[in-house]
Subunit: 189 residues, 2 copies
Amino acid sequence: MELLKKRILQDGTCFPGGILKVDSFINHQMDPILMKSIAVEFVRKFASTNVNKIMTIEASGIAPAIMTGYLLGLPVVFGKKKSPKTMKNALCTKVHSFTKDRDYDVVISSDYLTPQDNVLFVDDFLAYGNAAMGVIDLIKQGGANLVGMGFIIEKEFQHGRQRLEAEGVRVESLAIIEDLSDCRIKIKD
Amino acid sequence: MELLKKRILQDGTCFPGGILKVDSFINHQMDPILMKSIAVEFVRKFASTNVNKIMTIEASGIAPAIMTGYLLGLPVVFGKKKSPKTMKNALCTKVHSFTKDRDYDVVISSDYLTPQDNVLFVDDFLAYGNAAMGVIDLIKQGGANLVGMGFIIEKEFQHGRQRLEAEGVRVESLAIIEDLSDCRIKIKD
């Protein structure tokens, strides 16, 4: 997605340790026009599937997910990062955050993840794939079917894709970052 | 907003203690078509203002905010519920949650809340107004201008509106709940 790649090169900044900051247009301040274009790409990539529900995790996945759901006319559900105690009928999985170096719970009501759901998962970043592996676990717990996972930005050098593909999951990313060493952003053509 | 009121009566459930659960279509699973209609109402209500930025708080404010930003072609920024330590140049305010009976920090980068910003704040619920009062504090800290606050659902009996109006803030809610006692939902005409 050329528009996105250009924007990352223009407005993204990178920091030691493989950190790419896109918080002026994707995950703190957001450009809704770009978000809609991102959603159009997800719709095109997964057009051949029988998706009937969009899923994401709070908070920065919600914007691309709601736009994708809007274009497809499908419900959108987001996993919450919180204690499962506060939710009835909760499905729960534990995710390790490398960035924050801690574990957190992702919970979703079993009312909204059922054997009737053919789920497209949408999120802002694919890095090591820990959150996405948690989502696969939640989808299994709910007895739902995962049709694919779409990411705005994939950090290829953190190898999340391999873990997801090993689970048989179709992965589509709109911009693939090959390298961030020396604080230079190198995007795959 | 008739469509919203009907939906609340149809799919909302209420629990002792003034709790209204709308998590099948607003704040856990979301109906993006309804969200877009909600955004249209916010656009109409605040059409006469000089708004140039939409603000919300994660997580359930993001969907109506991104839709409103999309319709107006304006950037959307969301306050994060986390430690200000993890963000450079952070503006921070403390908010008390009655539901969870604890304080939490809401932080926003000062890069995205500046004297150039005429902010429309959008959120899912107005209850006691604690989160909204925190937003007013953040907007003051950033030197920004608040043009108004729009809520999907206002719980009138928790009197948040009075606190906001006492600060000179224009408040618009799309559905006003008068009463939830005896677990019956009474919506203002």
